[in-house]
C-alpha cells in the first residue's frame, strides 16, 4: 500500500510518522505543500508540528495550501486520511472534520503520556485494537481542547464517530483524566464515512518498547492490510 505524508513549513513530526509507516510496510512518499499533485496514495497523513508557525490560528494557513485542495479531493474519493495533532487541527480548518480545537484549558502547552479508550474499532484505522481497549499514547499540544455544538456532539456519540477518549489507567472516562478540557474527553474523531481520522495524541511515538510501548503501532498495522 502507498502512503503520502504532507510536509508543511513548520511540520516537525513528519519524519516520525514516516518511520512508523515504513515500519508497518507502507511504501511512503513525502509531499511538499507547494505540490499540485498527490502521488498515488491509499493513505494520506498530515503530521504534527507547527505548520506556518501556528500563525493566525493553528492549521488555518495550511488549510489553504495547494496540496490541501488535492487532499480534500482524494478524501471525497474515499482515500484514507489521518491527521495527527497539528494534522487534526488542519483537518478541522479545512472542514473535513467538524468542530474546533481550542487552547488547552490550563492555557499551557501540555506534553505527557495519557491513557485512551478505543471506542470504535470497526473501521480502517482501529481494527487491530480490541473494542474498548485501553492504550497509552503521548500528547504534545497547545490547542487540543475539542469543542463543538451540542447537536454535533450528540451525533458524534450516537453515530459512534468518536475514535478515542481520554481516560484514567483503569479505563474510566472522568473529568480528572481529561488533560486539556475536551468535550466528553474526546481525543480523536472520524468523519461520517470513517475514512478520515483526526486525533490529538501521537500514535507514531508509541511504536517501540525501548522508547515507550507499541500501542500506536496497532493503528498503523490496522491501516496496512
Amino acid at each position: 500500500m502507498n502512503s503520502s505524508v504532507i510536509v508543511f513549513p513548520g511540520s516537525n513530526c513528519d519524519r516520525d510518522i514516516a518511520v512508523a509507516l515504513e515500519k508497518s510496510k507502507f511504501k511512503n512518499k513525502m509531499v511538499w505543500h507547494k505540490e499540485n499533485e498527490l502521488p498515488k496514495s491509499d493513505l494520506i497523513v498530515i503530521p504534527g508540528g507547527f505548520s506556518y508557525g501556528d500563525y493566525l490560528r493553528s492549521g488555518a494557513i495550511a488549510a489553504k495550501s495547494n496540496i490541501l485542495k488535492e487532499v480534500v479531493k482524494a478524501s471525497k474519493k474515499g482515500c484514507l486520511i489521518l491527521g495527527v495533532c497539528n494534522g487534526f487541527q488542519i483537518l478541522i480548518e479545512t472542514g473535513l472534520l467538524k468542530g474546533a480545537l481550542l487552547r488547552n484549558q490550563n492555557l499551557r502547552f501540555l506534553s505527557k503520556d495519557v491513557y485512551l479508550k478505543v471506542l470504535n474499532n470497526e473501521n480502517k484505522f482501529c481494527n487491530k485494537y480490541k473494542s474498548n481497549e485501553l492504550i497509552k499514547l503521548n500528547i504534545a499540544h497547545n490547542e487540543g481542547n475539542y469543542f463543538t455544538d451540542q447537536k454535533h456532539l450528540e451525533s458524534l456519540e450516537e453515530k459512534n464517530l468518536i475514535a478515542f477518549k481520554y481516560c484514567d489507567k483503569k479505563g474510566d472516562i472522568l473529568n480528572d483524566s481529561n488533560p486539556n478540557g475536551s468535550l466528553n474527553n474526546i481525543a480523536g474523531i472520524f468523519n461520517e464515512e470513517k475514512n478520515i481520522l483526526g486525533m490529538m495524541p501521537h500514535p507514531e511515538r508509541m511504536i517501540e518498547d525501548i522508547l515507550t510501548n507499541q500501542d500506536g503501532m496497532k493503528l498503523f498495522n490496522s491501516l496496512f492490510n
Binding site: C13, G53, D54, F109, L110, S111, A140, H202, L211
Partner: protein
C-alpha cells in the same frame, strides 16, 4: 557626529579602552565604528576578563574533534558519528522579558549547533530564580518556562533535561542557560573560518530589524533600577523561521557549497563577519544597501548592531549561488549576496556608495583588551557546626520539609510544558539522573545532563567547581553512559570586584582539576559576568552540561525501584557531612561552613565500577546521592514507582540526620536482586569500594524503623503539591 565622553561611556567602553582604539586606528573612530568596537570589545564577545583563566582548562581527549573557539564543541562517538554541543546564557534578556529572553536563548544555542552541520537532537536548560516569595519570581518562572517550551516545541527538538532552582541570590538577576546537542556526520562538519579571496558572502534567514541593538553590551553591564528601560534591547524570537532556516541550512550542507558559515548571534552582523574574517586571516567587504531590512530607513549603525534572530552568514564556493538560492527560496527565506572576502584584512562597510567604516579585523578581535584582573582567594570556611548544636527536630518532619520545598519538589509542571518525545529517539526523559537520546536509526545513544551547585561554589569556589564536574560525571554514569566531555556556562557577578574575580578564578581551578582527573574536557562554553543588581552579585554559578556515550543501547537501567524484595545498597563512604546541605539550608536556614569535598580518586573508582555493575546487569535501578542526601535519593526512587522501601536503622553513624541527609560526594544508591549480592559485594570489595545494605524494596510504604512511615501516594503528594499551591 562628534564622539563625546558621554557617547563613549554609553557604549560601555572605558576611557583607556577608547584611547587604545584611537591608537589602533591612528585616528578617531566614527560613530558607526565606535558602535562596532563596543560590540566586539564588550565582555560578552571578547572574554576580556575570563580568557587567561579559560586557557587553563583541559580541552582535549581522544574523542574531541573540536574544542572551544568554534560555534560549538565537537566530539567523536565512533563510526562516522559526531556530537556537537554547547551551552549558553541568556540571563539579562530573560529578566527583562522572560518569554522572549528565554525563547531567543534557545534559538541562539540551536543555531550554534546546526551552523556546524548538526541536526539538533536534544535541548537542555538550567534555570535559576529568586526566592519563591519574591513577587517577581512567579511571573519570571512562568515566562521563562513557556518561552523555552514555546521555542523548542515549535522547532521540533525535544527538551529532555534540565534543572530549576530557587534562591534569594537571584531575586534581581535570574539565570537562564540553554544547551543544545546535535548529531552530525564526522566528514560533514562546518566551521566558521573563511577561506579564499573574492568569495561571496551571503546573508540568509530573517530580515534585520531594530531589535536587540546593543544586546551584547547590555549583557555586559550590571542592572540597576532602570533595567526595565532596556526592554527594546531584548530580541524577539520566531521559532518558525528558525525551523525553516535549520532545514534550509542542513539541505545546503548536503553538498560542498559552503566554505564557512556562522550564525549571527550576539552583536549580530558585526561579530559574525569579524569572526569569519579573523579566523581566515582575511578581509571582508560588505555592501549594507543589500542587507534585507524589516524596517525602513535603517542606518548602517542599526544594521551592524541589530541582534535580530534567525540569521546566518555564509561564505560560498564560486558558482554555487544559484543552487543555494534555490534552496532558500524553497523555504521562503531571504538569500542575498551582501559582500565578498578580500585580502585587505580590514572590515570595509559601504552604504550609498560610500565607505562608512574601515577597520582592521585584528583591532576588533585579537587586539581587543585582555585583563588580568586582581582576584582574592576564598579560604575554606572552618566553622563546622554539628546537628547536635541545633534545636531538636523530628526526623520525619525534617524529611517532609525538604522534599516539599520548592527546590526539591517535583518539577513535572515544568517538564510537561516541553515536548520531550518529538523525533522519537528519547529513550530516557527528564526525571532521571541523565536523559538518553538514541542516535537516529542506530544502536548507540548519548546521555546528557546539566548541573550546578551555587551553594557549594559560594561557600568555597574551588571545592564547588570540582564538585559540580564530579556530580555531572556521576549523573552520566548513573544511566550507564561513559562520560566524554562537557560544555560550561559560567555565571558570575562583576569581574571588576576582586572577590568575584576570585570566585571565578577558583571555580575554574576546581573545574580544571576534576576535568583533568576524570578525562572529561571542556569543548565549548560561555561566560556571563555582571550578574547582579546595584552591586549585589549573584552566587557563583558555573553550570556544567555533560555528554556521555552508550555504545550498545539495551533496555536502559531504571532510576526507580523495580522489584519487591530486592536489596538496596549505598555505594561510597558516608562521613556525615552536613554543612551546606539541604537539611541545614531548608530546615535550619543555616548557610555557614564548608561544602562536602569531592575526592577525585574515589569518584572515578566508584563511577568506573558502577558502570561495570550496570554493564553486567547486576543493577535493577540506580540513582546518585547528591543534594538532599540518601533519604532524598530513596524518596525519588520510590515516588516514580509504586514501590517503597523498608530502611534499616544504620549502625555505622550514630546520628540519623548525619546518615540520611549528609551530602558526601561520590556516592550512589543501587537496587539489586538478593541473589546477586555476593557477586556485587565481591566486585566492590576487590576495588576497595565501601558499601552498606540500607534496606529492602517493599510495597506501598516508605518506611524507616520507628522514625518514619508514609504511603507512596502521600509521599508523591507532598513532593508535588508546592507548585500547585503557588
Amino acid at each position: 557626529m562628534k564622539i563625546t565622553k558621554e557617547i563613549i561611556n554609553k557604549h560601555g567602553l572605558k576611557n583607556d579602552e577608547f584611547k587604545k582604539i584611537k591608537e589602533l586606528l591612528n585616528r578617531e573612530p566614527n560613530f558607526l565604528e565606535l558602535g562596532i568596537f563596543s560590540a566586539m570589545w564588550n565582555e560578552h564577545c571578547s572574554y576580556k576578563s575570563s580568557k587567561i583563566h579559560l586557557k587553563t582548562l583541559p580541552v582535549k581527549n581522544k574523542n574531541v574533534i573540536q574544542g572551544p573557539g568554534e560555534n560549538a564543541g565537537v566530539i567523536d562517538i565512533g563510526g562516522n558519528d559526531a556530537i556537537i554541543f554547547k551551552i549558553e546564557s541568556h540571563n539579562h534578556p530573560s529578566f527583562i522579558e522572560p518569554y522572549q529572553g528565554a525563547a531567543t536563548g534557545v534559538g541562539g544555542i540551536l543555531r550554534d549547533v546546526f551552523t556546524m552541520g548538526a541536526r539538533p537532537i536534544a535541548l537542555l536548560n538550567s534555570i535559576h530564580f529568586g526566592d519563591v516569595k519574591n513577587k517577581k519570581t512567579k511571573t519570571l518562572l512562568n515566562g521563562v518556562v513557556s518561552g523555552i517550551g514555546g521555542y523548542g516545541n515549535c522547532v521540533g527538538i525535544p527538551t529532555v533535561a534540565g534543572e530549576t532552582k530557587f534562591h534569594k541570590t537571584y531575586n534581581e538577576n535570574i539565570l537562564v542557560n540553554a544547551m543544545a546537542v546535535g548529531h552530525a556526520k564526522k566528514d560533514k562538519i562546518f566551521y566558521s573560518k573563511a577561506k579564499g579571496i573574492n568569495k561571496s558572502v551571503v546573508y540568509v534567514g530573517s530580515k534585520t530589524g531594530r531589535d536587540g541593538i546593543h544586546g551584547a553590551s547590555m549583557a555586559s553591564a550590571e542592572f540597576d533600577e532602570n533595567s526595565e528601560e532596556k526592554k527594546p534591547t531584548v530580541q524577539v524570537g520566531d521559532p518558525f523561521t528558525e525551523k525553516l532556516l535549520m532545514e534550509a541550512c542542513l539541505e545546503l550542507m548536503k553538498d560542498n557549497s559552503i566554505i564557512s558559515i556562522q550564525d549571527m548571534g550576539a552583536a549580530g552582523l558585526t561579530s559574525s563577519s569579524v569572526e569569519m574574517a579573523f579566523k581566515g586571516d582575511l578581509g571582508l567587504e560588505l555592501n549594507l544597501d543589500k542587507v534585507p531590512c524589516r524596517e525602513e530607513n535603517m542606518t548602517p549603525y542599526e544594521m551592524m548592531l541589530s541582534e535580530s534572530q534567525e540569521r546566518m552568514l555564509i561564505i560560498l564556493e564560486d558558482g554555487k549561488e544559484d543552487k543555494a538560492k534555490k534552496i532558500f527560496d524553497k523555504w521562503d527565506l531571504d538569500f542575498v549576496v551582501i559582500g565578498k572576502t578580500t585580502d585587505t584584512k580590514n572590515l570595509i562597510l559601504k552604504f550609498h556608495n560610500e565607505v562608512v567604516a574601515n577597520l582592521p579585523i585584528a583591532a576588533l578581535s585579537s587586539n581587543a583588551p585582555q585583563y588580568e584582573r586582581k582576584w582574592k582567594e576564598k579560604k575554606l570556611p572552618i566553622k563546622n557546626i554539628k546537628i547536635k548544636d541545633f534545636k531538636k527536630i523530628k526526623f520525619d518532619s525534617a524529611f517532609f520539609k525538604v522534599i516539599s520545598s520548592p527546590n526539591f519538589s517535583n518539577k513535572k509542571w515544568i517538564t510537561e510544558q516541553y515536548d520531550q518525545m518529538v523525533m522519537c529517539d528519547t529513550v530516557q526523559k527528564s526525571g532521571a539522573d541523565s536523559s538518553i537520546i538514541r542516535i537516529h536509526g542506530k544502536k548507540k545513544a548519548i546521555a546528557v545532563a546539566v548541573d550546578s551547585s551555587a551553594i557549594y561554589c559560594k561557600s568555597h569556589p574551588f571545592s564547588g567547581g570540582k564538585q559540580i564536574v564530579c556530580e555531572n560525571w556521576r549523573n552520566l554514569i548513573s544511566v550507564g553512559a561513559m562520560p566524554i566531555a562537557i560544555t560550561n556556562c559560567l555565571n558570575f557577578g562583576n569581574p571588576e570586584d576582586p572577590k568575584i574575580m576570585g570566585e571565578f578564578a577558583e571555580c575554574i581551578k576546581g573545574i580544571k582539576s576534576a576535568c583533568e582527573f576524570l578525562n572529561y574536557p571542556v569543548v565549548s562554553g560561555n561566560v556571563s559576568f555582571y550578574n547582579g543588581t546595584n552591586n549585589k552579585n549573584i552566587y557563583p554559578t558555573p553550570v556544567i552540561g555533560g555528554v556521555g556515550l552508550i555504545n550498545e543501547l539495551k533496555d536502559p537501567v531504571k532510576n526507580n525501584f523495580q522489584k519487591e524484595g530486592s536489596l538496596i545498597l549505598s555505594i561510597g563512604k558516608n562521613f556525615g557531612h552536613l554543612t551546606q546541605s539541604a537539611l541545614f539550608l531548608e530546615v535550619f536556614n543555616y548557610d555557614d561552613g564548608p561544602p562536602p569535598e569531592a575526592n577525585l580518586l574515589n569518584e572515578r573508582n566508584n563511577g568506573e565500577n558502577i558502570l561495570k555493575l550496570i554493564e553486567n546487569n547486576f543493577i535493577n535501578s540506580i540513582h546518585d546521592i547528591s543534594s538532599g542526601g540518601l533519604i532524598v535519593t530513596l524518596a525519588e526512587m520510590s515516588i516514580n514507582s509504586s514501590l517503597g522501601v523498608k530502611i534499616k536503622k544504620p549502625k555505622s553513624l550514630s546520628n540519623l540526620f548525619e546518615f540520611f541527609f549528609s551530602e558526601d560526594q561520590g556516592r550512589y544508591c543501587i537496587e539489586i536482586d538478593k541473589e546477586k549480592y555476593d557477586n556485587v559485594k565481591k566486585i566492590l570489595q576487590e576495588n576497595n569500594i565501601f558499601h552498606e545494605i540500607i534496606g529492602v524494596v517493599q510495597r506501598d510504604n516508605f518506611e524507616l524503623e520507628k522514625e518514619l512511615k508514609i504511603s507512596i501516594n502521600d509521599l508523591y503528594k507532598i513532593n508535588n503539591e508546592w507548585y500547585y499551591n503557588y
